[in-house]
């Protein structure tokens, strides 16, 4: 049976044109953040360097989630890679803007433009 964190947050990873594409859907909050951190950091450590976080299916993020995304970006940078973000919308876009994350991390309107232009 799926745990609560698994129901609230869906994660997947695939390789596309040299990028590791991490898709995050649902909610990234105090309840689900540990699961995201564990899984995403494992993908970063196993990957080849550059990471796109596809957030087009993310409905909610709190500062707990932001903190983990920042940690992920630093981890990727530590491996001489880049982490970019695609598909911000609604509340998530607003949270990124208020927190200054749109200036800290390169952001693109969708996955396609991230892979093409980043």
């Amino acid at each position: 049976m799926a745990t609560r964190a698994e129901r609230l947050l869906q994660l997947s990873e695939r390789s596309e044109q040299g990028w590791s594409v991490v898709t995050i859907q649902g909610r990234l909050d105090s309840v689900t953040v540990a699961r995201f951190t564990e899984q995403c950091y494992a993908w970063i450590d196993a990957g080849s360097g550059n990471v796109v976080l596809d957030l087009s299916g993310l409905d909610y993020v709190s500062s707990a989630g932001l903190s983990s995304i920042l940690g992920a970006a630093k981890r990727v940078q530590g491996r001489n890679g880049r982490l970019v973000v695609a598909g911000l919308k609604g509340l998530v876009k607003e949270v990124f803007a208020i927190s200054g994350f749109e200036t800290v991390l390169p952001t693109y309107p969708d996955l396609e433009s991230a892979i093409r232009n980043a």
């Binding site: 909610y60 709190s62 500062s63 920042l70 940078q77 949270v95 208020i98 927190s99 200054g100 200036t103």
Partner: protein, 117 residues
């Protein structure tokens, strides 16, 4: 707790505003858990009042005095390597909601979040 507040909020205000309230409640609860009780656990009391056209959420704790209104905003323009996340939760609360109030009553911190339709 957050879903309890959200359930009430959705009856009164549009989903987009209910989500802002939800975020504020999560951030404040996280803040209380992290800072209010340095010596261990303590109380957190949440009440929701649904009035015509608005929702009022009051959250009380009896931990260390902490006024979010007086808190200085963190510098959100720093580059990646220098970014720290302290204070981000309170910044989000103040920017997401139009009406945030704080009072110290006896041994209690009480914050009030109001969201109108």
């Amino acid at each position: 707790m957050v879903s309890f507040v959200l359930g009430w909020a959705r009856r009164v205000v549009p989903a987009e505003k209910a989500a802002r309230l939800e975020l504020a409640v999560e951030e404040w609860a996280a803040n209380v858990c992290r800072h209010a009780y340095p010596e261990g656990g303590g109380a957190l009391e949440v009440s929701v009042r649904a009035e015509p056209g608005r929702v009022v959420v009051e959250i009380a704790d009896d931990g260390c005095p902490f006024d979010p209104i007086a808190m200085r905003a963190p510098d959100v323009s720093l580059p990646l390597a220098e970014r720290q996340l302290g204070g981000l939760g309170v910044l989000l609360i103040k920017r997401m909601l139009e009406d945030v109030r704080y009072r110290r009553e006896g041994d209690h911190n009480i914050v009030t979040f109001t969201v109108s339709r």
